[in-house]
Symmetry: D2
Subunit: 260 residues, 4 copies
């Protein structure tokens, strides 16, 4: 069962003050949804305004990418925050980005937790729950981006409970275990560096709803959005390959607010 | 010309993490509008949620109290930020607080710049302009709190230009110069410590629209809101005195969204 | 075997900017060693200078109290920092405090990790190892403060390996398990609130080198230093009781640099 | 009067967490003194350790480069900090870097205030005074880096008063006014972009102790150290040109601790 439409999302707005990170000007025209850092793990108010503006000019849907308050660790270190603290952190960051969106007459499409917060949610669906609950309290039209695979049914139920749509995410450059979870980055083979192979995996997921696992088996795994990167020129070239492969397969690249 | 209604506003939500500041539980029931710190000079996401909740329970109107990113200096130190940076800082902080308000089904009433940002705006009305412009871009129903006195006409014109209502503020415990400006805190007599005298000054402004200046003259000065403090039990007693004096004079205490 | 000398240590210098925490002026004259916050989880440069000065005036030995960079969480939340990051954080904070000590002609006596960092070290002695190694690289005269009890021999060996003396610490107000570990704060009875009982437990440890455990058994547990608190007037009264009880027993209160 | 020896200094260690800034690996082998950021305006504990190590391996003298606590503004925005606050900030940052130096068996050679703090000191020599006083209290062997030109005699007197040596600094790529001050960056011609011209200006200062001013006059201006940059490959090429020009003129490149 081939998909008709798929979203391409990427983490952007990660520069901070005089520190530049990522190739936002190049990646944003290639994606349909932007995950914009909100000042806790990356980004700052000036960067947020610029990034919202850049996404808006390219008709890319806006999303908040909230993380832990850990700029020096880029939000990649697990922090023993309570569910209440996570709720407060997500509320604060989503609100801050909403105001920049409102300033150009737009609203946010989605929320995708960043780094350690995302990984902790994957390991503990209670965190997806508190994020969904937080989103529902602010604006129930917001879509939650969550990992496709292992806990898909649980996350769908969480979304339904709070009246929040979920866009499931596929990582073309990450190896999967047979249970649908990602292979830990600490293990060999966790990240797939071959561009050709990544594009093929994306295409297989899009056209067949399947992914080849690290143990040689193949599992069903469908998704609404594919995570891509704009860190360097090579990553950009890969995104262009993925776009072409998807479009050549007759699948439309579109933000999930248009089809979920 | 006696006023019919006047607002009492106070800076609240200034605690941070394990650090407690102010007597919010005591002062909030005594005021009509709350200026809530937004995490840059004071406050944090958890404190913001609690403070919004406390104000909401007491039917106190919610306002953002944005300041410079200077927690250790409590936003009281002038920072050579550009107008663009001020715009970004105000957008970010107002948005963050809006999300907590939205989480309890409310919207913000007003924005009052904090500390050095407020003082810099008083000295340079261009800053009132950029704050008003920022507010208009986010939500044109927001009311700007600004110092009554010296530049009143200029600030009114700024508000009109951006379609933003202005609530002018009176400080009962601060001495005024004959031009309507506040006497600098570095000069003797700048702060009035006698509670009886403070209450009398408030009453005079409310009933006659006049204030006695430090040079012995008296000037016309009307206001929509009076700034009061909840730092300690003595300050709270003063607020109670002011409330009684105002109500005894037949003047209603009300948030400016109800009468501006 | 009664001790001749024992140290009383307390966490001080935890104020931050306009935020006051603790009763440093009252507690410092009652202790022999001060654990001074270094700006990551609490404290700031101005507070550090004042606290060093206050300790110096009271002939109290100076110690660094390094924590995680988590001001809003007061360093009490576990952070998934690497051993290398911990080494860097401890180096930075110890160095910063050393400069304030040098400014009044003094050197630091000790280093006591704070909050989550301390608790993580108790659970994982590798962290004691990296802290001791860090101290040895900066100044091998520094004494490490570590929890007495469960891993005492392991920590002694770590100190010996790096040429760092260890002062073992006893908590009079915390319940102990029979293996010498502290009862988790999440369990009932973990904190002993009765002042009389706390003073008795301290005295028993000082005179007999024993502590009654939560399961009714009694174990051997000796220590070089006792952790006391100056958070409020009641805590101060307890410290005075403990001091008197110790002195009445003929035991001298002294900083460990004088007897280790 | 040609100099025998001159120092080349550069701001390094300005990366932060995952954010990379500058080409430290390339610039450090080309200079004799390193101004290392200390975590307030740039740098972090891990970067400080790496930078100290890199400088040490290249026999480059270590210096602290303290700035205002303004990471997002890179310490380039004037902050209305008191002299006492500046003293505390400098103490803290110098101490933090000292510990990393001590960890590799080294001491710091110098202190050079960064950005807005440097510029504020140039405009208000009281700030040089408080920095010198702070340095003397920590380690009187530390050398102060200060702008050569306008206030040279005043700064020399400040150094003498506190027993602190001063290394005067020349900027080859900045235009000078006839009074020895730098032309404001807001004015046209303030920064000299032509590499050939910059190298010539450096050589003229080194060999003749003179600099051509923006108004066409020429003034006497000698210096102990030249500030160079490692921001990009072009800047590195310029530093190589400057090194060659200096060495061809028979002048030795050396850290000021060896000749002041």
């Amino acid at each position: 069962m081939s998909l008709n439409r798929i979203d391409l999302n990427s983490d952007v707005g990660e520069s901070f003050g005089y520190y530049k990170m990522g190739l936002d000007e190049e990646i944003i025209p290639l994606i349909s949804s932007a995950n914009i850092a909100c000042g806790f793990h990356a980004g700052d108010p000036a960067v947020m305004r610029r990034t919202v503006s850049l996404a808006s000019e390219n008709n890319v849907a806006l999303g908040a990418h909230p993380g832990f308050p850990d700029l020096v660790g880029f939000g990649r270190r697990r922090l023993d925050a309570s569910l209440g603290e996570i709720k407060d952190y997500v509320t604060y960051q989503v609100g801050a980005l909403q105001a920049f969106a409102a300033s150009v007459g737009l609203t946010l499409q989605h929320v995708k937790p960043h780094g350690a917060l995302y990984n902790m949610a994957v390991a503990n669906p209670e965190i997806w729950g508190v994020v969904a609950e937080t989103m529902a309290a602010i604006d129930s039209r917001l879509i939650l981006y969550a990992l496709s695979g292992l806990e898909r049914e649980a996350v769908l139920a969480i979304g339904a409970k709070h009246g929040i749509r979920v866009a499931f995410e596929f990582f073309g450059d990450r190896a999967y275990n047979a249970d649908g979870s990602l292979v830990s980055r600490n293990l060999p083979g966790a990240v797939i560096h071959d561009h050709h192979q990544v594009a093929e995996r994306v295409l297989k997921m899009v056209k067949e709803g399947r992914v080849a696992c690290i143990d040689g088996t193949e599992i069903e795994l469908s998704a609404d959005t594919i995570c891509v990167h704009g860190d360097n020129p090579s990553a950009l070239a890969l995104v262009k390959n993925i776009r072409e492969a998807i479009q050549d397969a007759g699948v439309e690249i579109a933000a999930p607010a248009t089809f979920l």
